[in-house]
Symmetry: C2
Subunit: 179 residues, 2 copies
């Protein structure tokens, strides 16, 4: 496992090779199987492959044109409503205070990480794109105002092999017994 975690990179340049449908399914399956608080599974994954929709999503991601080299995007949506009894008709965004939204973000992040690791295991590259705002990206995909887009994940075969990025040493992030 640690080898896979060490191996994975954020990829921002892809080949034009299409993704085999069974590989894409395996990536989605890795997300589907993620653990979540109370097993609520508060996530939806939107697979975007058409040129037109990828263009629109890329535009909403502040025009990161490199994204268009990827043949598909997986848009991971955190659904606070999936954690509540009712489908709340509320508007949420980056500054919403709700604990349920934080939990849905937490759980959906787990599922996304599973997908990134499974993609790497399948020889596919990914990048977690988070540079967008809810008010701009939701309309592009027709996502209701009570869902929160957590990630846009370009996915495809890597056309670059970047070195590992630096990480803080363990000594800087691990404490014992107390803060």
């Amino acid at each position: 496992m640690i080898e896979s975690i060490q191996h994975r990179r954020s990829i921002r340049k892809y080949t034009s090779d299409p993704i085999e449908p069974e590989k894409l399914q395996s990536v989605l399956e890795a997300g589907r199987l993620a653990p979540s608080g109370n097993n609520k599974q508060p996530w939806t994954f939107i697979v975007v492959q058409s040129e037109q929709q990828r263009q629109a999503v890329m535009q909403a991601c502040h025009r990161q044109t490199w994204m268009m080299t990827a043949p598909a995007f997986i848009v991971a949506v955190a659904d606070m409503a999936a954690r509540s009894e009712a489908d709340l008709p509320i508007y949420i965004d980056e500054n919403s205070p709700h604990w349920e939204l934080k939990r849905a973000i937490r759980d959906t992040a787990i599922a996304v990480e599973n997908m990134l690791l499974e993609a790497d295991a399948q020889g596919l590259g990914t990048c977690w794109v988070g540079f967008f705002v809810q008010s701009e990206i939701r309309p592009v995909l027709g996502i209701p105002d009570n869902k929160f887009v957590l990630a846009v994940i370009p996915i495809g075969y890597p056309a670059e092999h970047p070195p590992a990025r630096p990480r803080k040493p363990l000594a800087a992030i691990v404490r014992y017994e107390k803060w």
Copy 2:
């Protein structure tokens, strides 16, 4: 990878066998290597092994007494301040609105999932415990009020082998091109 993801379970009963230090290090390393927005790595992991501190943390987790069967807890703390320019002297909790806090939660969730998967690969069991409130658990560990405890992870050798919990089918969580 998918096999590891399929294999992992939430474990709520552990043997009394201690965790080899090199295995614990490998788990922490898996968290350390996680990707994060702008590579901010907004996480701290507190390893709790003493009987007294585990008792205190367990109490703060609404007295889930099964937790005490685990020889160690890893407490994952999301640090909104690590994403900002300054170490903000603010109080945050479950209902805080800050986008930076949501990002720190997102990133720390990625790191925790890496640790859960690496633990499984090492033959260790884990459970993501999230049933506590900030105002009660932070004082137990001396955690500042501008940090957010995202998870308490009991870790140890499993003394139970629960079946897989149900998940929604892919058809219920995957959409194509738009919501």
